[in-house]
């Protein structure tokens, strides 16, 4: 081994984290190389200095006592404990009313921050969706699999994605399925179903929903309409230059097709 190979491993050697075979090789090199030996000595000196000088305070005796009592189940039981535990250690706790007010305010702020972030995320997100839709139209790369048959389009996604999107041809309703493609939105691969209404292409972006029911109203950006549903546990976002009413109709029919039978 040469110095360039050994240098990045010196830290792991010092930490005792090299597997035995590699360790022997690295040690053999260090034994005959003054520069690498010096580097290793630096690591050791730093470790010694940190151990010698960084405070290693022990937990106070009261905390130890409290912990032992907690293990025996002798403090407020976990199931009943408020979000903040109250034990003997924090006897100085003063439940001043202004604190409750502050907590309530914190909750409001949390909601406000959450909503603001959600809006910001959503804004960036719709921009990405519209960009993907426009990119596909501009480059002519609308469909990777061109088929009006849902039984061709659905299997095509197998192996290309780690989920299976709900696919249905809605030609009966005036929304023929034209094909599908895989696109990248928000750093993940998503399925895109391509429908058409008259001359308007419609992209439906589909990926597994991590959580949550739909709570975003329909929106528009740069003249494109966006309509969102959760269908069969998937996030489904339709983007098109079609009018809102017809886009909603498509998504309603799409969602209805996969709605659990009652």
């Amino acid at each position: 081994m040469n110095c360039d190979q050994v240098r990045p491993l010196l830290g792991a050697l010092h930490d005792g984290e090299l597997e035995p075979g590699l360790r022997d090789e690295v040690e053999a090199h260090v034994a005959g190389c003054a520069a690498c030996a010096r580097e290793l000595a630096h690591h050791r000196a730093l470790g010694d200095a940190l151990r010698a000088h960084v405070t290693r305070a022990e937990a106070p005796a009261a905390l130890h006592d409290w912990a032992r009592a907690a293990v025996r189940g002798e403090v407020a039981s976990p199931a009943l404990a408020a979000p903040r535990a109250r034990g003997p250690v924090r006897a100085a706790w003063n439940p001043a009313s202004w604190l409750n007010a502050a907590l309530a305010l914190a909750a409001c702020i949390a909601v406000a921050v959450g909503v603001t972030q959600e809006l910001a995320v959503r804004d960036g997100f719709t921009r990405e969706l519209v960009a993907a839709h426009v990119r596909a139209a501009v480059t002519g790369h609308v469909s990777d699999v061109i088929s009006t048959d849902q039984h061709t389009v659905k299997p095509w996604f197998n192996g290309r994605l780690d989920f299976s999107p709900p696919v249905v041809d809605l030609a009966d309703a005036g929304f023929p399925l034209e094909g599908g493609r895989v696109d990248y939105v928000n750093d993940r691969a998503v399925a895109v179903l391509v429908f058409r209404r008259n001359r308007h292409p419609i992209d439906v972006f589909v990926w597994p929903a991590r959580r949550g029911a739909p709570r975003l109203p329909p929106s528009a950006r740069d003249g494109y309409q966006i309509e969102r549903r959760v269908v069969a546990g998937m996030q489904c976002w339709a983007v098109s230059d079609l009018n809102t009413k017809e886009l909603r109709e498509l998504m309603d029919r799409y969602a209805a097709h996969f709605a659990p039978a009652r």
């Binding site: 930490d15 940190l50 960084v54 130890h64 293990v71």
Partner: protein, 198 residues
Amino acid sequence: MAGSTRGRARLTSTFERTAPTRPPGLSPAERSRFELEILVHLDVAYRVARRLLRDDHDAQDAVQDALLRAIRYFSGFRGTSGRAWLLAIVRNTCRTRRRRDWLRTGVEFDESQHGEADPTEAPERFAERGATGASIERALAGLAEPLREVVVLREVEGLSYKEIAAVMHVPIGTVMSRLARARAQLEQALGRAGEGGP
């Protein structure tokens, strides 16, 4: 009259549904396992909390919260390192607290507002550490928090890469690269400081 009784009955059943089915706490067998595998790491848990929160009182609070959580979820603990498992819970608890405080006060956790000087530490011990101790504290304070965490867990607390990865929820490769950066920065800071000193 009847209505209120029914109301109370409904409340009770709702509560029972949210509460765990078995009595809270640990069975006797679990209790001794918890003491052997988790509770022995109370001191390091306390230190980790102190470093993250920079306040003794907050740290004790956080450790209490974390221990209650650990007791509640102990039956799900399958790992090999009780230390890493407890520290991961403590670290999450501390970070949640800091976020909450940030939401409450609007003031982001500012390390420069929380001095390194330790109120519980005897003054003579602090003095004894001398210039080297102070320069090391300064060098550590100059690191980005993830780098400081990783180097302290490794060199001071003696955790393995695998344990650190579990505590910080990052891959081992990230532990290694952070450790290398932390060391390079510390050596540089201390080297520079040392040149002017004795």
